[in-house]
């Protein structure tokens, strides 16, 4: 028996898998690391060497507005997503597993449905003569169609809808790890349901909220399809601006600089979160 164990020990060590990882690592190096470096180089060399592209982006009011808009949309979308996702995640966490997996399946299914299809569907629903406006007018709640599309409202609705699974999934994991008995203990200690939520459940679920929130925020910062289709021209976001710079204006230098700023902001946010929440809790090792 002990002899057997000794023989097993080398197998117990995790295989390092360096051979199998090679193709993927090569792909990432060739198609991510190299382009990012090329991007950085273009942003400081085109049309002439120097930091003028960055100076233009930070100095010009129009570009500043796009940056502001991007962060505004990402912040609003993240906040609304957290608020909407929390009750769903809690319900999933305390549901009987059989029923929970059905609801889970529906949420995952929505993630797998084509993004463009879902965004066009929202256009149909939200436009002036769309289903929502017509229904509200028919039942007499409003007399004029509500401006639900080509503005921040439209972008927020469409993006929250798409982001929900990315918030719900990490949150369910965190909430499942909380013993419901803890909340009963809080109740007997005299905490009303609201106090128990504010003082116990919310702080305990913070790692999940942070993990999901970061994911949603970062994805929102660079989102292209939904803001382009549901947002107006007055609140253009960064991704749409980069596309315009490169496709229409053929200004590769300025576009590269904008893309590089987006990348740096994303990395900075990730670093900040690792600091605040702790790398261990982020990766699920609660």
């Amino acid at each position: 028996m002990s002899c057997n164990l000794l023989h097993r020990q080398p197998i117990l060590r995790r295989p390092d898998g360096s051979g199998g990882a090679l193709p993927a690592l090569t792909l990432i190096t060739l198609f991510f690391v190299v382009p990012v470096v090329a991007l950085l180089l273009r942003s400081v060399t085109e049309p002439v060497p120097g930091l003028h592209n960055y100076a233009t982006l930070f100095g010009d009011g129009t570009y500043a507005r796009v940056f502001f808009n991007t962060f505004l949309v990402a912040t609003v979308v993240t906040t609304v997503t957290v608020i909407v996702a929390f009750p769903v995640a809690w319900m999933l966490a305390i549901m009987p597993p059989a029923l929970g997996s059905i609801v889970f399946g529906i949420i995952i299914l929505s993630m797998w449905t084509n993004l463009l299809t879902r965004t066009y569907a929202w256009m149909v629903l939200l436009q002036r003569t769309g289903v929502i406006n017509r229904t509200l007018m028919d039942i007499g709640l409003i007399s004029q169609p509500l401006p639900l599309i080509n503005n921040l409202t439209g972008v927020t609705i469409g993006m929250v809808y798409i982001m929900l699974p990315f918030m719900i999934l990490p949150l369910v994991g965190t909430l499942r790890a909380i013993d419901p008995m803890t909340l009963r203990a809080a109740a007997l200690c005299g905490a009303s349901p609201f106090e128990a939520f504010r003082r116990i459940l919310l702080p305990l679920s913070l790692p999940g909220i942070a993990a999901g929130g970061l994911m949603v925020f970062v994805m929102s910062l660079g989102y292209f399809v939904t803001p382009t289709l549901l947002g107006g021209t007055s609140n253009m976001m960064l991704a749409a601006m980069i596309a315009q710079m490169i496709q229409s204006l053929l200004n590769w230098g300025l576009g590269s600089a904008a893309a590089f700023i987006l990348l740096v902001v994303t990395m900075a946010l990730y670093a900040l979160q690792l600091r605040l929440v702790g790398a261990k809790r982020m990766t699920g090792g609660i």
Partner: protein
């Protein structure tokens, strides 16, 4: 003040067609340590949860000083509770955990600070205030849970198998702490356990649950010495049950005939038995003697095995009818060894320490 302090009236809880608690009625005087003892699924926890407000009874009532608690939500019942699992708030320090019930009651800072210090010293964890629960052992966590449950001076403390996750030595240590804290605070305690030693050690009174009903309620001594049923006799302490035939009862003392034909007089019981009725005679293992005494009855046995238990030696003996019985004589260890050597022996018991039940 004829009202009992806490009163459970005809409490019934059904889950569908399964009735977990059948019309349980108990009055608990102020300051009493009452234990709900019973096997798992006997309704003791369900009764406790009804008092805590986690489960709404199907019928019946829970009265505190004459007023019904049923319409009061858990967070307004002002009851303390220690749970089976560790339910400390992991994101708060030990001191913040103990302060929690006071903070939600919006007590002034100075009072919270004083009370937290007082509670931590009550459970002897003064120097642990700044630690997080995760850095504490299971026993320490349950002591913090006890401090948290007592911080707001609740009139009633509920404890739901709080020591079941701890090892034996730690359990005994915390039992002593719980006794001391009960003495010092005078709080009324309702304690749930399936461990009879724990119940006997801690309680003023024990309610023994079986299948959702209270089988017997009384002091530990009542249940041990005067069990009202064979279930009580076998659940509290160890017992041997010898088949016997009832011959007659005069002045409450029965005369019976054992399987080997020997006749024993002076056995107690609290029922009506007819002549020739089949009965079972309960004899505690420690009621057996290896030597005859005044008025003892003898039983021919064969010694099978002996085991050393520290303060006692346990002997397994076999009767002439082939039934194995558990014998724990208080002394005479050397003699027990001799008995094993000679293999055939007589053991003795005082009929007044035995008890007769229907078969």
């Amino acid at each position: 003040m004829t009202e009992p302090f806490l009163s459970i009236r005809d409490l019934r809880k059904a889950f569908g067609s399964f009735v977990a608690v059948h019309d349980v009625t108990i009055d608990i005087p102020r300051g009493q340590f009452l234990t709900f003892l019973g096997p798992s699924g006997s309704g003791k926890s369900t009764t406790l949860y009804a008092i805590a407000g986690f489960q709404h009874p199907t019928s019946g009532d829970v009265l505190f000083k004459g007023r019904s608690l049923l319409s009061v939500p858990s967070h307004k019942r002002n009851i303390g509770m220690v749970f089976q699992r560790y339910t400390l708030f992991q994101h708060l320090t030990v001191a913040e955990n103990v302060a929690f019930p006071l903070r939600v009651r919006r007590r002034p800072d100075a009072e919270v600070k004083r009370k937290v210090a007082e509670m931590l010293s009550l459970v002897r964890l003064e120097s642990f205030g700044d630690r997080h629960p995760g850095a504490l052992s299971g026993g320490q966590q349950q002591r913090v849970a006890l401090a948290r449950a007592l911080a707001y001076d609740p009139p009633i403390l509920l404890m739901d198998e709080p020591l079941s996750a701890l090892d034996k030595k730690l359990r005994e240590e915390i039992q002593a702490e719980i006794r001391r804290i009960h003495r010092e605070t005078g709080v009324t305690i309702l304690y749930v356990t399936h461990d009879q030693d724990e119940a006997l050690h801690l309680s003023d009174r024990i309610a023994l649950f079986r299948d959702g009903r209270i089988e017997q309620i009384g002091t530990g001594e009542d249940l041990y010495v005067r069990p009202q049923s064979e279930f009580v006799a076998s659940f509290i302490g160890n017992s041997n049950f010898l088949p016997a035939e009832h011959l007659e009862t005069v002045n409450g003392a029965a005369t019976i005939r054992l399987a080997d034909g020997s006749v024993v007089s002076g056995v107690r019981h609290d029922r009506e038995f007819s002549q020739g009725q089949k009965t079972r005679l309960m004899v505690r293992p420690e009621a057996f003697r290896l030597r005859p005494g005044p008025a003892t009855a003898g039983l021919a046995v064969e010694f099978v095995d002996t085991a050393f238990f520290g303060e006692r030696r346990r002997v397994i003996a076999r009767t002439a009818a082939g039934q194995e019985i558990d014998v724990r004589p208080t002394s005479d260890m050397a003699e027990a060894q001799e008995g094993i050597a000679s293999s055939r022996q007589q053991i003795f018991f005082d009929p007044a320490a035995a008890f007769l039940f229907p078969a």
